[in-house]
Amino acid sequence: MNYETVIGLEIHAELATNTKIFCGCTTAFGDKENTHCCPVCLGLPGALPVLNKKVIEYAVKAGLATNCQINGFSKLDRKNYFYPDLPKAYQISQYDQPLCEEGYLDIKGDFGSKRIGITRIHIEEDAGKLLHEAEDGSTLVDYNRGGVPLIEIVSEPDLRSAEEARLYAEKIKAILEYTEVSDCRMQEGSLRFDVNLSVRPEGNSVLGTRTEMKNLNSFRALVNAIEDESKRQIEVLESGGEVVQETRKWDDVTGKNTSLRSKEEAHDYRYFPEPDLVPVVLEEEYIERIRKELPELPDKRAKRYVEEWGLPEYDAGVITASRPMAVFFEECVKSYGGDPKTVSNWVMGELMRLFNEKGAGAEDIPFPAVYMADLLKLVDDGTVSGSAAKRVFTEMFETGEQPKKLVERLGLLQISDEEALTGIIKRVMEKNPQSVEDYRAGTKKALGFLVGQTMKETKGKANPALVNNILKKLL
């Protein structure tokens, strides 16, 4: 039997505000434990929360960028549960009246284009972090992250595969980056995914029993966890069993997910309106002002690349999927002044190859976009050959040096001196009389071999067009 996987994603994104959601402590990451804390975010007796207005602004921005309806009236609620990383033993979140509702995003893939519904976006506070590193085996808590603002973006169960989930999550990431709502630093945990997943026989309209996997913090983990859990559920059904509603834990190291707690053990969060805060009331003008401030979003930008710059749709999609990439690309195009397609070819070829090799992204590029433009200009004016330029580019990604300096340091200046080249080519022809004869007898591909030998002789520095011309003349 064929099965269909049904997936809904809850994405938590830390907002890029300077201060926490309910107090003035900094949200900076990576400092000494428990140094960004105050009576409010430590939940000391008598301390009260005050809502950071920037949080509302950022959440509304995210909502508008994902086609949500912004609620003029929303409120905050307490979600009650005990855990050492939660200082008040309740999380201030939003329950039945979130800030944003009923949005959607379109994703594109081999399956074509698909619209994914967004149920809601709400604001809430992050918890602290447990540290299990103490030598005596005890657990310590760092509350620096406690009270950092989050938005939770809840999708409809519209996703049908790990691939769709990844595309959707990447799109959310791109939008949050474009709007500068979140810096989406995944290695710092500022973007995390919870997966709700069930399977059902293809053609069946009733949803199967779902499980939840929490806190996946990379796209790879997201894809692997979905594939693993989908496979597991199908196996359970195939062997005549039943999927149990539960929360499961994904382990990146073992590549397996295991049961964490059952439905019976699930918390009753006893949500109720937070009496320490007043409801959030937003005027229409406020919402419209934020709508006007929205930057150009990935879809629109990709469309512009295709329509104005003639980029293939696929390339435009890849480049705009990450804001830093798109910004880099546009700066490069501007500085280069030539055909944007030349730039996109380099990005899609050489840059992506390096990203894959290094596991890097656009934010890791160690040189400014203008360097890449300079390199392309050096190719255009014949200073370096295309193949030499690729070597320069690779080196530039290592050292961040200027391309001109690299060309000199690596001795890759292209030989465009006709006299010098003629001498070298004559030598090459002497060494390869058979090929010379073949060409003259009509085997045209022998020319390619002789060009190649000349390039080899010059360590790739010869101007290939010039070599071609001289060879043809001599032959």
Partner: protein, 484 residues
């Protein structure tokens, strides 16, 4: 000799330097040392700190600094008001050794005004209780009769003022916890409008009902202290941005033509006959002074106590959750794992009344019960507010008994928690509706004082104070003191 002076009288003398702040403070400290073993009003007495602060005030006075009218006045604070570097216990084992690293807004304001903090007063544990007997540390006696309770839950603050062990005190009022003990101890107590005084740094019992307020000897002092504790505080989102008038300014304008509603529901079953009599006599005084008193109806009053019990317990169950032994406060000694630590810490740290309310509130908020309890109680809340709104369309304020009972013996009825909060039947509605309310002494039943309550429109504290002041100008009950 200064013990029974009003804040206004003391302030005059200190200002004229007829007496120093240090002498005043020392005299109150001596009084505490002499009497508090019997009364049990204080949990913590800050003798050295108080005397040092008093000397600083005296120095400033000598230098001719212009100081606030409260400079050098010795006060007591309920022990759920955070005081930086002074232990703040909430009368709970859970916070027995808790020294807050920060101060409540009200404390900051009074410190800035130059008040001398004598100490922190006893209360029901986390302000939950109806007799100040649920304190983990001690029982507070009513200074008028040591076999009687001082009322809930700011009993220590009211007893301290009544026994001359503080010139004034601050209490907190969630369902009557300022007005109730003020009535039973024969002093003035006010719960301001919700949002008038900042709750920042005041340990929460039920966040949507809690409000800080003054306990004083007379109405003029009440206005004076209110002047110094109210005002917008951006650290409390429920603190309202409203103009704070000088509450002493209009005190003497009288009440001629003032329209006063007398709600029949507040005089009905459950109200002790003697209380009814004293308050009726007091209403006669108000009429003599020119007020127009008419019977009105607040028909949903009978549901107020139930709604209060559900809402306050629900919020309390969540507010008490942070006392888990992880970051501060009491932690059990031996435990096997995290859950065991939570259970032992909270079982050992909290007393019976707090546990009861946590359980009740948890139940009321649980899935399946939420609509039947919490949501319904919120609907009742809306109805009670609407009752008041409609009466206040025609009347300036409402007058009724404060505590329905006066003779409540220590240790009485401790096994029937619901019976215990019945005396609060008349105080709870003002909390539910967020309205300002004030209790003044209006006579005696035997040797015990009886309190009369004024309830006003939101932010109409001035009206309440004016009416209560007029009453006190024509009666002498507030000038009577217990023989401790």
């Amino acid at each position: 000799m200064y013990h029974y002076m009003t804040v206004s009288e003391l302030a005059q003398r200190i200002k004229k330097r007829e007496v120093s702040a240090e002498e005043t403070t020392r005299s109150f400290i001596e009084r505490i040392e002499e009497l508090d073993e019997k009364v049990g009003a204080y949990i913590t007495v800050e003798k050295d700190r108080a005397l040092k602060t008093a000397r600083d005030i005296d120095k400033k006075l000598k230098q001719g600094c212009e100081l606030s009218p409260l400079a050098g006045i010795p006060m007591a604070l309920k022990d759920n008001i955070c005081t930086e570097n002074i232990r703040t216990t909430c009368a709970s084992k859970t916070l027995e050794d808790f020294v807050p690293p920060y101060s409540a807004d009200v404390y900051e304001r009074l410190e800035k005004a130059g008040c001398i903090t004598l100490g922190k007063t006893n209360m029901d544990e986390f302000a939950m209780g109806s007799s100040t007997e649920s304190s983990a540390f001690k029982v507070t006696r009513n200074p008028w009769d040591d076999s009687s309770i001082p009322g809930d839950s700011s009993g220590g603050s009211a007893a301290a003022v009544a026994a001359g062990m503080a010139a004034f005190a601050l209490g907190t009022d969630t369902g009557g916890s300022i007005r109730q003990p003020a009535a039973l101890c024969g002093v003035v107590g006010m719960k301001p409008t919700y949002g008038r005084v900042s709750r920042y740094g005041v340990v929460a019992y039920a966040s949507s009902l809690d409000q800080v307020g003054p306990i004083t000897r007379d109405v003029k002092d009440c206005a004076l202290v209110l002047n110094h504790i109210c005002g917008h505080d951006r650290r409390d989102s429920t603190s309202m941005v409203v103009a704070a008038p000088d509450f002493q300014a209009g005190l003497e304008e009288g009440i001629r033509g003032m329209r006063i509603g007398i709600p029949s529901e507040y005089f009905g079953k459950g109200i002790e006959q003697g209380v009814r009599d004293r308050v009726t006599e007091a209403i006669g005084v108000l009429e003599d002074l020119g007020a127009e008193c008419e019977e009105v109806s607040l028909p949903h009053t009978i549901y107020a106590l139930s709604a209060y019990y559900i809402i306050s317990s629900a919020e309390a169950s969540s507010n008490m959750a942070r006392y888990d032994g992880i970051r501060y406060g009491y932690r059990a000694k031996d435990y096997s794992d995290l859950l065991d630590m939570y259970i032992k810490t909270r079982s050992e740290g909290f007393g019976a009344e707090v546990k009861r309310r946590i359980m009740l509130g948890t139940y009321a908020l649980s899935s399946g019960n939420y609509d039947a309890y919490y949501k319904k109680a919120q609907k009742v809340r809306t109805l009670i507010k609407a009752d008041f709104d409609s009466v206040f369309e025609d009347y300036d304020l409402i007058v009724c008994p404060t505590s329905s009972l006066v003779v409540i013996r220590s240790g009485e009825k401790t096994n029937d928690p619901l019976q215990k909060i019945l005396p609060n039947v008349n105080t709870v509605p003002a909390n539910i509706a967020g309205l300002p309310a004030l209790s003044v002494p209006c006579g005696f039943l035997g040797n015990l004082p009886v309190g009369m309550q004024f309830i006003g429109k939101p932010f109409a504290e001035s009206t309440l104070l004016r009416a209560a002041y007029a009453y006190q100008q024509n009666t002498g009950f507030h000038k009577m003191h217990p023989q401790v």
